[in-house]
Symmetry: C2
Subunit: 222 residues, 2 copies
DNA sequence: TATTATATGTTCTTTTTTTCACAACATTGG
DNA sequence: CCAATGTTGTGAAAAAAAGAACATATAATA
């Protein structure tokens, strides 16, 4: 089966929407409601579910609890994913402080920095010297790393992480990282996101319409 | 002409790669070099340029300086874009501290927060009470706003921004914001990015290959 | 238990995006 | 000045993604 990035992103969105709907008291849901909540078509919802072997009942729609369980299983939420962060500056600190990862079965278990001022082995989430990162990753069998160091240090940190066994990297440094084929590197480039927003906002300002953009052109969910 | 989000993102990437190549001493470039640098095919580069009316010379490739100028013009870099940030917490502070926006003609001119502790009208980038945001946006004709407040406050802040004339919003709150058709809302959901990285990393771990994923499935540039 | 209304699952189309292939043409070197 | 070389620009083809339509199963109802 072929998997496609947009599809996986939608699964995550479905899951988030379902949590919200559940908290509102819903117990079951139909493809068109969910589609509305997420901003796609009902067919797309059913196709996505079908693709991943999730099925509802022909008249009763989908049980929200079942759906959430299924999505969590597909998205690997049946276990807690341990993550390390390299570079405890502005972005790194923001991530360490953020409380919203827990409920997604994500746990940042340590930070690493070159600057002794940032280091604090006794913190709620400990921050260790960067030199200890490789060993730590190995010993704790960490598979996911976040890179929040300046761009000039990013590739080296990535290499170390990969060397130690990391298979997925979320990179905030504004540059393309290189790695072997069997490591996933996801770049979040905030400058680019802002640039992009500006571009489309200008397009709207100039033309007065969003209609000139293709459907997928809308930067996001509007 | 139809414009497409991915295409615009690629334009930004080309531009970034070109700056790097220029700093390495390159003066002209061929579509295949640039393609390599960005991680797309040479045809794609030429198609994109062609689409936006950028042309090179049949044997000499493209002049990097011309290309950068063209891309900057297309991306609206001929003027400085003023941006305000609502919510000067972890993320908001990171953005205010970041020095990398300037060289992209983006200038964060003010922050706004509900918490008096965060306010500081005398800072390099001043932080004002949130109540003053609407007026400030109007008076300074700000078109772009960043939302970095907790999710429960996000929609209200968005409404105020839009009310005051903002046409593009970069939203960090993990929720879908609603707005009129002629306002662009770009959601950056960091939890989702991490989830996604984890999903694809797991796929790699389980199957040993990325080959099962379609081209666009690779979360990013690898 | 039969009927009916209704939402799913899936096939078939349409649209969008990417890649292929090559003619056109600029540069370089004789 | 001409041929050889090599890169662009683009129409045509292929691939991928999204959407429409509908046959089919099933919950509700009588
Ligand atoms: N802050 C933003 O808003 C923003 C926006 C866009 C991109 N980024 C990018 O995100 C990354 C992090 O940004 P930031 O604002 O948090 O930077 P920062 O300067 O605040 O923090 C960087 C941290 O990395 C540490 N560091 C430096 N070299 C290191 C090394 N070799 N090993 C380990 N740690 C090292 C530093 O001590 C510092 O604590 C940068 O690449 C930046 O370009 C940040
Ligand atoms: N920090 C992260 O790593 C992270 C990760 C994923 C998502 N997010 C999201 O990004 C947003 C910001 O995150 P953060 O970590 O910076 O949060 P934070 O709590 O550190 O900061 C929020 C700021 O907004 C201010 N605020 C609250 N209500 C306000 C209002 N009505 N008007 C103006 N200001 C108001 C607060 O005073 C605070 O300074 C949140 O929605 C969060 O869910 C953050």
């Amino acid at each position: 089966m072929k998997t496609n990035k947009n599809c996986v992103i939608r699964l995550s969105r479905y899951k988030n929407a379902l949590y919200r709907l559940k908290s509102l008291g819903f117990v079951k849901i139909f493809s068109d409601n969910l589609a509305d909540a997420v901003g796609v078509t009902a067919t797309q919802v059913r196709k996505d579910f079908s693709q991943f072997g999730i099925s509802g009942t022909r008249k009763g729609g989908y049980q929200i609890d079942d759906l959430i369980n299924n999505l969590n299983r597909l998205l690997g939420k049946d276990e807690i994913h341990k993550v390390v962060v390299a570079g405890i500056g502005n972005i790194g600190t923001a991530l360490l402080n953020y409380k919203g990862f827990e409920k997604e079965s994500i746990k940042i278990i340590a930070g690493f920095d070159i600057n002794t001022v940032k280091q604090n082995a006794a913190g709620e989430i400990p921050v260790f010297p960067i030199a200890e990162m490789e060993n730590f990753i190995r010993q704790n069998q960490i598979k996911i790393g976040v890179i929040a160091v300046p761009d000039f240090a990013a590739q080296q940190i990535a290499d170390t992480m990969i060397q130690a066994g990391v298979k997925g990297i979320l990179n905030f440094a504004p540059m393309r990282l290189h790695g072997p084929e069997n490591v996933v590197i996801n770049n979040v480039n905030l400058v680019l996101e802002l640039e992009n927003t500006i571009y489309f906002a200008n397009a709207v300002i100039k033309t007065g319409v969003v209609g000139q953009l293709t459907a997928s052109a809308q930067p996001d969910g509007v």
